[in-house]
């Protein structure tokens, strides 16, 4: 493809409809029909398989991507399954895909991995028990810092006002 079709394709289109003979139109029809058949063929095969391969089911792909971004790669340091190129992560992603395709809910798939790897496998720990600290402590520290700034600033302004008077 050396020439790109311009965005407004009107000159080409009039050329096609008027300039092509019946042979051209027949060829165009054949190309269209075969390409449609070829596009549909792998999808039809994919329906027979237990799990459709990546790229054939956009909805499942999106679910797998979302879920594997929430699960931790066991052989990496702080990477999700989605971000890891390791072989174990690839296999784990295909487990995620197979279980989702088998009708499990995302929470059930997560529960499976938690049962095997512990809560360690969740990139976001559940806000429960000691884990609450992870969520609460930063907030508390920010509030304490703001309070400290407030009191210091007040003391300084009071002291400044006092020295000027």
């Amino acid at each position: 493809m050396t020439m790109r079709t311009p965005a407004t394709g009107r000159p080409e289109r009039t050329g096609l409809s008027s300039g092509l003979g019946w042979i051209g139109r027949a060829l165009l029809l054949i190309v269209l029909v075969t390409s449609v058949v070829m596009l549909c063929a792998p999808r039809a095969q994919g329906q027979d398989a237990a799990v459709s391969p990546p790229g054939t089911n956009p909805e499942l792909d999106a679910q797998v991507r979302k879920l594997s971004a929430e699960l931790r790669c066991p052989v990496c340091q702080g990477l999700s399954l989605a971000d890891s190129p390791s072989e174990l992560s690839q296999e784990m992603k295909s487990v995620v895909r197979a279980q989702l395709a088998a009708g499990k809910s995302p929470d059930e798939v997560k529960a499976y991995f938690v049962g095997r790897y512990g809560e360690w496998i969740l990139l976001e720990p559940k806000a429960r028990g000691w884990n609450v600290l992870v969520y609460a402590l930063p907030l508390l520290l920010v509030l304490a810092g703001l309070a400290g700034v407030f009191f210091l600033a007040r003391r300084w302004t009071l002291a400044g006002a006092g020295s000027r008077e």
């Binding site: 066991p74 052989v75 340091q77 072989e87 296999e91 784990m92 049962g115 095997r116 512990g118 360690w120």
Partner: protein
């Protein structure tokens, strides 16, 4: 005034330093397994190396085998499940310990089973020959499904499963003869799984 400031700084800094120091004592690569105490995930895997004797290399050719081993069929026995690979350095370190403890408990209700992790059969069979043979069967785990079922994050990893079918103990890294015998004896004397190890 100075003392007051110093004590405030200490009150804020010491716990933080203690927390960071505690972090240094922990290995971030270790994943605590929830499996000990729970039922061992079942599997039915193809045997690729029967491992009967070290002296018959013909028996370890892939064509001679089509047998599978199912974990549920080993209920009532102590099962030592060892995940290994030919590319794994620690597996060579622990191999002799596994082989000699397997020989020690032969015919006494203790079954050793190897599962190949993330490897192909040719180098795996070559590895077994180079190590002087394996006196217990090794299974192939396509797609690492069984490895993921056991929460594997590296090789070698060894699971000791009690006669009740529960995981009694999990060990990441090379095992020693002493450790294996200790855990097996505890299971044999108790008859049930002891309190879970790490």
């Amino acid at each position: 005034m100075n003392w007051k400031r110093a004590s405030i700084a200490a009150a804020a800094g010491v716990p933080l330093i203690a927390l960071l120091g505690f972090g240094l004592t922990r290995d971030p690569k270790v994943i605590p397994s929830p499996l000990p105490g729970r039922e061992a995930p079942d599997f039915a895997l193809r045997v690729f190396a029967p491992g009967d004797t070290a002296s018959a290399p013909d028996a370890t050719t892939a064509s001679a085998l089509a047998d599978t081993i199912r974990l549920a069929a080993l209920r009532g026995e102590v099962v030592v499940l060892n995940f290994w690979a030919s590319w794994c350095a620690g597996c060579g370190v622990e191999h002799q310990a596994l082989v000699s403890v397997a020989r020690r408990y032969e015919g006494q209700g203790v079954r050793f089973v190897g599962v190949l992790y993330n490897d192909t059969l040719e180098p795996a069979l070559r590895w077994i020959r180079r190590m002087g043979g394996q006196n217990y069967p090794s299974l192939q785990d396509d797609g690492s499904r069984t490895a993921i079922d056991y929460g594997l994050y590296g090789v070698p990893e060894t699971f000791i499963i009690g006669p009740d079918g529960r995981v009694a103990y999990k060990h990441a890294g090379p095992v020693t003869e002493q450790l294996l015998i200790e855990k097996i004896e505890a299971l044999r004397s108790a008859g049930t799984a002891p309190a879970a190890g790490s």
